[in-house]
Symmetry: C2
Subunit: 306 residues, 2 copies
C-alpha cells in the first residue's frame, strides 16, 4: 500500500468567468467545479485511477473537510484522515478567456493535541505501507519540522519516503534524509539559493540539495521533463515535444509515478514520471490522468546522462 499524507488538504474550487478577470470589477461566475485537493490527495487520486493500493491520510476539519471527505468517498479513494476542529481550506482558481488566477487560503489552525494524534495515526498506518508520500504545505500550528518527524517514523518502520514540499517544510524535511525529494525549479531555487533554469542549473542545485540530506532529487521542469540527481550521477528524461493542455497537477502525477516505481531502475522510473506527468496535462483537473496518453507516450521518452 502507498500511503499519501496531505496535512493541508483543500477543497479546490474552479470558477469559470467570461472575458478577462479585471481587478476592481465584479464578475459573474458562469461555472463552478469542486474537487478534493491538496498535493497528497492529488497523488492518491492518480494512484487510485491506476488501480494501485493507496490510502490517503492527513488532516480534515469542518464543513469543507467533510466535503473533501465526501468527494474522496465518492471517487472510491481509500482514506483515513484525522479530524481537526478548524475548517479545511479552499483554493479558488478563476479561469478566464486567457488563463488561470489562483487564490490560496493558508489553511486551518491545527492544535498541538491534533498534531500529536496525527503522529499516532501515521505511526500505525506506516506499518502496512510500502512507500510513503509526504506532499504539500503545512497548515498553521503544525511544526516546521513536521515532515522530519514523519520521515523519522517511516525510517524507523523501514519504509521509503518521497517528499514534495516547499520553503521551511522542505528545508527541515530534507535534513531528515528522505529517500527522494521532488521539487520543481522554483522550489529547488528557494532551497539552495540563486535561480534554477533548465537542466544544467538543476544538476548544480540538485547536488547542493544532496549535500543537505536527500538521497536523490527529482526536479520536475514542466515541458523540459525531469532531472534526477543522485550521488551516482544525473539523468534527464524528456518528451520530444510538449503536450497541450492544463499543466496543473503534472507535478503530483510525477510524484505518483516516482512512488509507485520504488525499487525499479532509475531510467524506468524517470520514463514513468515523464509519461504520467504528460498524461495529466490533457485532463481538466489536478489528480486526473489520461490512461491512453500514459500508455502511448512511454515509447517516445528519451533518457540521457547529464
Amino acid at each position: 500500500m502507498i500511503l499519501t499524507v496531505t496535512l493541508n488538504a483543500a477543497l479546490d474550487v474552479t470558477y469559470g468567468i467570461s472575458g478577462e478577470l479585471t481587478p476592481h470589477r465584479t464578475h459573474r461566475v458562469r461555472t463552478v467545479a469542486t474537487h478534493a485537493g491538496g498535493k497528497g490527495i492529488n497523488v492518491a487520486r492518480v494512484l487510485h485511477s491506476l488501480g494501485d493500493d493507496v490510502i490517503a491520510t492527513g488532516l480534515l476539519g469542518g464543513r469543507t473537510g467533510a466535503q473533501v471527505q465526501a468527494q474522496l468517498d465518492n471517487e472510491g479513494v481509500p482514506n483515513a484522515f484525522v479530524a481537526i476542529e478548524s475548517e479545511t481550506r479552499r483554493t479558488v482558481v478563476i479561469t478566464d478567456a486567457s488563463g488561470a488566477t489562483g487564490l490560496w487560503e493558508a489553511g486551518p489552525a491545527v492544535t498541538a493535541a491534533e498534531w500529536a494524534e496525527f503522529g499516532r495515526r501515521f505511526g500505525e498506518l506506516v506499518q502496512s505501507a510500502e512507500v510513503v508520500v509526504l506532499s504539500g504545505s503545512l497548515p498553521p500550528g503544525v511544526p516546521g519540522a513536521a515532515y522530519a518527524d514523519l520521515l523519522g517514523l517511516a525510517r524507523a518502520a523501514g519504509i521509503p519516503a518521497v517528499l514534495d514540499t516547499d520553503g521551511e517544510a522542505l528545508r527541515f524535511g530534507i535534513a531528515a534524509r528522505p529517500d527522494l525529494v521532488k521539487p520543481n525549479a522554483a522550489e529547488l531555487a528557494t532551497l539552495v539559493g540563486g535561480t534554477v533554469d533548465g537542466v544544467a542549473d538543476s544538476v548544480r542545485a540538485g547536488e547542493i540539495a544532496l549535500a543537505l540530506g536527500a538521497y536523490a532529487i527529482a526536479v520536475s521542469l514542466g515541458v523540459a521533463g525531469v532531472v534526477l540527481i543522485t550521488a551516482a550521477g544525473s539523468l534527464h528524461a524528456s518528451l520530444p515535444q510538449p503536450i497541450a493542455g492544463n499543466p496543473t497537477g503534472a507535478g503530483d502525477a510525477c510524484t505518483a509515478a516516482l512512488a509507485r516505481t520504488v525499487g525499479q531502475p532509475w531510467r524506468e522510473r524517470l520514463i514513468d514520471a515523464v509519461a504520467l506527468s504528460a498524461a495529466s496535462v490533457p485532463t481538466p483537473a489536478a489528480g486526473m490522468v489520461d490512461l491512453a496518453t500514459y500508455r502511448d507516450i512511454r515509447g517516445q521518452i528519451s533518457v540521457e546522462e547529464c
Copy 2:
C-alpha cells in the same frame, strides 16, 4: 414585524491579499472573513441591529446554506428559511492594496416544488408582517415573475412592499405595482433604457418607472444621496460631504431605512435613508451600520424638491 425575503442568499467570503490582484498569477490569501449575505439578509441584519422586529426568510440549501443559517443564528437575527436541495451560493470578494474584485456565483437550482413550498411559507409569514422587503437576484429555477407573485400575496394581505432587484426580476416585479422600488442608477438605467447619471436623469428615468407600475421610486445615488419620484413630485436628499469607507451594503441600509419608516412623511423617510446608508460606510461589511454615525448625521441632511 418586517419580513425580508432573500431568494438568492449567499455566504459572502472576503479574501484579503497583499499587494495587487494580478490576473494569471497565484496569490496567498492573508485573511478570510465570512458573512451571511444576500441583499435581504443584509437588510435584516441592519434592522436587527437597530432593535427592530424582523424575520429573514428565503431559500437556503446544502452546507453553505447551513453556514449562512448558523451565522444568522449566531447574530440572533430571527429567520425562517425554506430548505432546498441544491447548495446556496458563495460570493468571493478579493480585497487588495487598492480595491475590491467581486466574483458572484449564480446560485442554486431551485425546483418547482421548492418554489411552491416557499410561496406557502411566505403566504403564512406575510400575515403577521407590517412591511415586506423583496431584495436581490433570483436563483436559477425560480420564475422571472417570482417577485410579482410575492407582491400579489402581500397585496392580498394588505401589506406594503419594498422591491430592490435588477434586470428581468425588476421588470416583472414593477408591473405588479410595488409600493416602493429602490434601484440604484445602473439598475434604473437598465430598466428604462439609456443612462442615468445624477439627480435630473434619475427624476426623468424615475417618471418612466412610475409609468411601468411602481407607486414610488427611491433611486440610491451613492455619495449623491437619494432621489424620490412619486406622482406627487420629486425630492432629493443628500449629505453636505461624502463619508470615507466601504460603500458595499449602503444600498441595503437605504432599503432598511425605507422599510422601517413606512407610514412616515417622505422627507423624514429620505433623511433616514441617507443617514442609514452613510452609517453603513464606516463598517467593514454589508449588513452592518455604525449607530453613532447614524445619530450624528441626521441633522446634516438636506432635502430639496427637484
